[in-house]
Symmetry: C2
Subunit: 210 residues, 2 copies
């Protein structure tokens, strides 16, 4: 799994070589797609931010994943189950490439570079996804709100190579992402500030320990 494949360059160079690839733009708050039928959509987020959202039977909103530039998503990653409505919601203006997974696999009739190269790098692309999901599982496995918050902050901080980080979420959404009650999370965040463990201004968090 060499990180030799640069998805950004790939899109730039080859997205126009195949007429089966759909390009679409969505505005903030628009629904990009739902995971209902098994059309095997495979999507790449060219720009913008989006959330994969589930509303459970108790009416709780659940942010399953948060997508930013170059992330991949779509039905193809899910076994569609009964009582689950999954939506991908644009959180800002989004440019998306959409195509159907089977086309990639069964070789495109066009013999275009796009499908050719994509097929070649598909395993590492999907492995990247697996890695992200494992990180998500680690976070959700933490047993207290405090550990979830600190775990998430640490993650963003290490990606950012800095002890300061910007939240890609509102605090309301962060609670839905961590799967906890918002007011309880706010309380915990207050304690973390009072104890001098984190500092917060606007959507910036700074980790103060070590």
């Amino acid at each position: 799994m060499n990180i030799s494949f640069n998805i950004e360059d790939f899109i730039k160079d080859f997205e126009n070589t195949c007429n089966k690839v759909q390009k679409r733009t969505f505005l903030k708050n628009e629904i990009i797609t739902t995971y209902i039928e098994k059309r095997n959509q495979f999507c790449i987020l060219k720009s913008g931010n989006a959330d994969l959202v589930r509303y459970d039977l108790n009416g709780n909103k659940n942010i399953v994943e948060h997508f930013s530039q170059n992330d991949i998503f779509g039905e193809v990653f899910y076994t569609i189950t009964t009582n689950n409505e999954l939506l991908v919601e644009a959180k800002s203006k989004c440019e998306i490439l959409i195509y159907i997974y089977d086309d990639i696999h069964n070789k495109c009739k066009n013999n275009c570079k796009f499908h050719q190269i994509l097929a070649e790098h598909l395993p590492e692309l999907i492995l990247g996804k697996v890695s992200q999901l494992n990180t998500r599982i680690e976070l959700l496995s933490k047993r207290s709100i405090r550990d979830k918050l600190l775990g998430y902050f640490n993650l963003l901080s290490s990606r950012n190579l800095s002890s300061t980080l910007s939240l890609p979420f509102s605090l309301t959404d962060l609670a839905d992402y961590l799967s906890v009650d918002r007011s309880a999370m706010m309380r915990e965040l207050k304690f973390l500030k009072e104890e001098g463990i984190v500092k917060k201004s606007g959507n910036k968090i700074t980790l103060l320990y070590k």
Copy 2:
């Protein structure tokens, strides 16, 4: 993503066509592998049961995944992070195929059928993993012990096409898998029995509602 690829047949037919594939057997409680260095191990569980386990900083045991026949696992699925010791522990006698991911990708010098066919089907194999991880995330996102228990029981029940299911875990391990306190889980299970929602005898659970 046609489910045309039968991993069991594949192994039977081709595992001996490549001398780079390592076959190993582990006894119950032996450590099959650890995710520490990035050797890009890719493993297939031919038979037996195993758990992927993490011990967190508070000493809590966490069962990240449970593997049974034909499941795939290994370092290649993980971004190795600092404070994380991940172990794969055999829960029964296990037969494993081990090989290094890069060999698959960069075409095996032997030009053996094993690598050839595996490479072809790798994306759908990894997509199956993604699906499993998404199911895991859904479970961990549930907000109460009751919902986690019922969610897990439902899952096993629908796989089993029956309202009765066998737990592949001891209750102690189930608590670590659901990421909750064992005694709290036992209490909740007791309530579920008292309310006539589930029935339990031995390691068999029956769902009584609907």
